[in-house]
Structures are given as structure tokens and as C-alpha cells.
Symmetry: C2
């Protein structure tokens, strides 16, 4: 029944020559159905996701060696739907197996340390699915656009990020990096919605309009970051996100792909089942 | 339509003279419907829970002063359904607004500190709903039964817990403490299920049978803890839990009650709406 697949989602991976302007934020690659069909594709894989996550979690709980983890990194301009991804996609999972971290403006203490200092402790441990709402990429995005760090330091960071992510991969963390790619027009519409609906005032920040004025600079900073840090082990996916339900579906299939690749099974008993049955029956 | 209510759930609060043996773990107080009706009561309040949680979260994000938090403490014998509560009840919430902490066997570093040392950092911050799967109560339960601490230290802890919880309450954390109360027979059935189903082996721990042999001592330790630490500001609820769907429904209504009591509203704009509309339109 499904017409969207993990491979369709993965086809959105970008290479080191990616040109952001060539990707239409309003497009829905590999999907041409109705909104109803989108909902169907979205929920259809919930059962499989749930079972795979439970297996992953179970392996960690049973202390199985080399139990992996999944880390989803969400980046995107303001109003690109990072929070909505967490809200809608992650409900498919058991809250016990999910770790969520949002990286806002760094504190003074965080600023005094290397940029990865606040990131490392939030990496999901074995058996967990982690999601970063913004991430270490802010340190080569807003830092580049706003000149918050000197050019040579930003240059250093691309390599540091690749090394960091290579280390995580070797420790069994599957990294999925997603840029929620929206158009400037769509952002305007979203900002206006936040100002026209009092239940959304809290999402509005006047500073967002200042960042918006630097749209082209941000697109350029994103493009450089994508090119420098898309790797075989931690690829970047540019997900057209003017259609939010489409973008959520894509992310869900990317998570499904990562979990499937782990070849998960239920952990075996690390005790004598017959003996324990006997003990319980006589207890 | 609902025939179960927040008041029904709250009627399970216990006083300082509680006698655990008088509470039937297989009973379903204030509810006499079918399983289907239970599911209905369970899901019927999802929309309200979702909206209240979003308001709570929004208030924290908008830096509203005195934004509160909710902390659910789950205690119960092995197989009493603590994990299932998280899995089923907490899916009603946005994962961004939930913090989950499971307190297993303490590490050497944790043991070297006061028993509240590992607990305090896990208390939910403003706007969050936290859930503890086991908690500081282990330090007056297994510690009492297994004599892991001297009697005078355990005696001290009841007071320390009450002080700690009073402080949290003053800082706006609504504390809900739940003992998932099961029968010894129901535990046996659950343990056998874990041994008869290879997808559940990971949940089985041979040590659980050793603890099970101390059933009466644990009931006594629970009874003492309930009596000493049930307070107006952080009451204990003993929830009959041989019927898991019933127990989950009760907990969901307790959470609903805590959120309703907060009189939550969407935070007002802390900027000039007209001016910002103008800025966005011209951006």
C-alpha cells in the first residue's frame, strides 16, 4: 500500500556539491498524493517503528554489547518546523527511549568552553533515540553570519564536527542530519500566523525578523556547512519543508531506515529460563 | 460522557493511618465499566491534556514568572507497571515538554553522596512534566528491607524527603506520588509471562525473585513510607494496579487534575503586536 519508502527519503541526501537554490522548498519529491494519503503514509509505519525502538531499548537494558543509538539532528531557519517534528514524529516512540535536547543561545559558561562541550553530554546513550533541536551546527551558521567567531575558528569547526561525528559513529550512534528547507515566503506566512493567533504569541521572537533580513547569508552559511560536513557516515538530508506534513513523513522514514539498518532482534535470556520458571512457580 | 473524573482519581489519596492490606490491588474504585469503556475514559481527555501541557510549556518559553512544573513519582513492586505507565500515559504529551528519569541501582559516586544528590538535578524545570520511575523513596524502601542504611539514617530520611518536597512545592512543582499497588499473585503471573515470552526476557531479572521473597517486608516498608511522607502538598495515591488499564487511567486523571489546578492560560505577547506585524509584512 505504501508508495513512499525509506529509499525515497534517503534520496534527499546531498553531496559535497549541493546547491541549495536548486532545491525547491515547496516541492515534495517522490510523493504526489493527497493530504489524506500523506497521513496514511505517515501513520502506517508506526507499528514497525514502535517495535524496532522497543528492541533497541531492550538490547541496552539487557546489556547487550555494541547496542547502538540513533541521533537526529534538526536544523532549519526559524519557523521551519523543528518543534513540530518532535511533537508529531516522536510520539511514535516510547518516551522512555527518547532523549530530546534543544540548544538555544549558549550560557556564559557554555561560551567559555569549546563549542562541542555542551553537545557531547546530550548524545543519546546505547538503546536511545536522541533528537537535537538545533545543534553544534549553530556554531558554524549563526557564528558565520553574525561573525561571532573568527573565520579561522569557524574553519576549524567543520573538521572538528566531522571528527566528532566519526567518533560517535564508531561508538554505534547512527547520525541523521536534516535541514528543514523552507522558502522566505513561507517563513513570512508562518511569522504572520504567530502574530495573528494569540495562542502562538509565545513562539514569536522579534529577533527572528532581524535574522530573516540576513536570509541569503544564512542560505550561504548552510550551503557551506552542508558541503563541508556531509559524509558517508553522517549524511545531510535537505528536506523541502514548505509542506510540513511531507517533511514530517520524510523524517519518520529516515528514522525507520536507521532502525532497520541495525538488524535488531530481541535480546536472548542471560539466565536459565527453565530454572527461573521453576523458581517463580515455587515462589 | 465521562463517568470517571479527577475527583475519583484523587479519592485514592491516602492518609497517615493508611493500612495497605485494606486496599485490594484487584479492585477498580469508582469505575465499574467494561474494558472498552476504560479505553474511552483513557483517551477522552487527551485533547485537554495536550492543550494544558502546551500552555504550561508556552508559559516557560515566554519567561512568564512563576511558571510551574509537574512531577509524577512512580513507585511499586517489580512488574507493577511503572514502565507501562510512561509508555502509555506520557504519549499524550509533546516529547519536548517531558523529562523522564529512571533511578536504578546507584553508582559508586551516587552512593558516596546524600541520597537526594542524584534526585535533585532530575526535578523538572519550569514548564515541564517530569516522571520518576523509582525515586528517592527507594532509599527508605529497599534500604529499610535490605538494611542498606542504619535505622537512624532511614529515620532521618523521611523528614528530609518531606522538607525536599516542601521546597519543590514552594518553587511551583506539583508533586503527585503514586504507588502502583499489585498483589503477590499478580506479580507471579507477570514474572511467568516474562519467562514464557522471548520478547520479554529482557524485562526479567533473577534478582526480582529474591526481592519477591521479601514481599511482606516490602509492604511494611511501603506502609511506613506512605504514612510518614503523605502530605497535603505531596500526597500519596495508592492505585490498585492488578488491572493495568485502570491504573493508567487513574494516573492520567491525576495529571489532568494537577494541570487544571494551575489555571493555565496562553502567555500574552511581550512585544508590540501591531509593530511586529508591520515589520514582518515589510520584510
Amino acid at each position: 500500500m505504501a508508495n513512499f519508502s525509506v529509499d525515497d527519503a534517503r534520496a534527499l541526501a546531498v553531496g559535497p556539491q549541493v546547491v541549495l537554490a536548486d532545491i525547491d522548498p515547496a516541492s515534495t519529491p517522490h510523493f504526489d498524493g493527497s493530504k489524506k494519503k500523506l497521513t496514511h503514509e505517515f501513520t502506517e509505519i508506526d507499528e514497525e517503528l514502535d517495535e524496532l525502538q522497543r528492541k533497541l531499548y531492550a538490547n541496552a537494558r539487557a546489556d547487550m554489547p555494541n547496542t547502538g543509538a540513533v541521533l537526529l539532528v534538526l536544523q532549519g531557519m526559524d519557523t521551519s518546523g523543528k518543534g513540530g517534528q518532535v511533537r508529531h514524529v516522536f510520539r511514535a516512540f516510547d518516551p522512555q527511549g527518547v532523549v530530546h535536547a534543544a540548544f538555544g543561545k549558549p550560557t556564559e559558561e557554555e561560551k567559555a568552553h569549546d563549542f562541542l562541550w555542551r553537545i557531547a553530554p546530550k548524545v543519546p546513550g546505547p538503546g536511545m533515540i536522541g533528537v537535537f533541536d538545533r545543534s553544534h551546527y549553530e556554531d558554524v551558521l549563526i557564528h558565520r553570519v553574525r561573525k561571532l567567531s573568527p573565520p579561522e575558528e569557524i574553519e576549524r569547526r567543520y573538521g572538528a564536527i566531522n571528527d566528532f561525528e566519526a567518533q560517535l559513529t564508531q561508538r554505534g550512534v547512527k547520525i541523521i542530519k536534516v535541514m528543514l528547507h523552507i522558502s522566505q515566503q513561507f517563513q513570512k506566512q508562518n511569522l504572520l500566523e504567530r502574530l495573528e493567533d494569540p495562542t502562538k504569541y509565545w513562539k514569536y521572537n522579534p529577533g527572528d525578523v532581524d535574522e530573516r533580513a540576513l536570509w541569503e547569508q544564512y542560505q550561504q552559511a548552510y550551503e557551506i556547512a552542508l558541503r563541508r560536513t556531509t559524509t558517508d557516515y553522517a549524511p545531510w538530508y535537505v528536506v523541502p519543508s514548505d509542506n510540513k506534513p511531507y517533511a514530517r513523513m520524510v523524517v519518520k522514514y529516515l528514522l525507520l531506515g536507521a532502525l532497520r539498518d541495525m538488524d535488531l532482534d530481541w535480546p536472548p535470556a542471560h539466565f536459565d529460563v527453565e530454572e527461573e520458571l521453576h523458581r517463580v512457580r515455587n515462589s
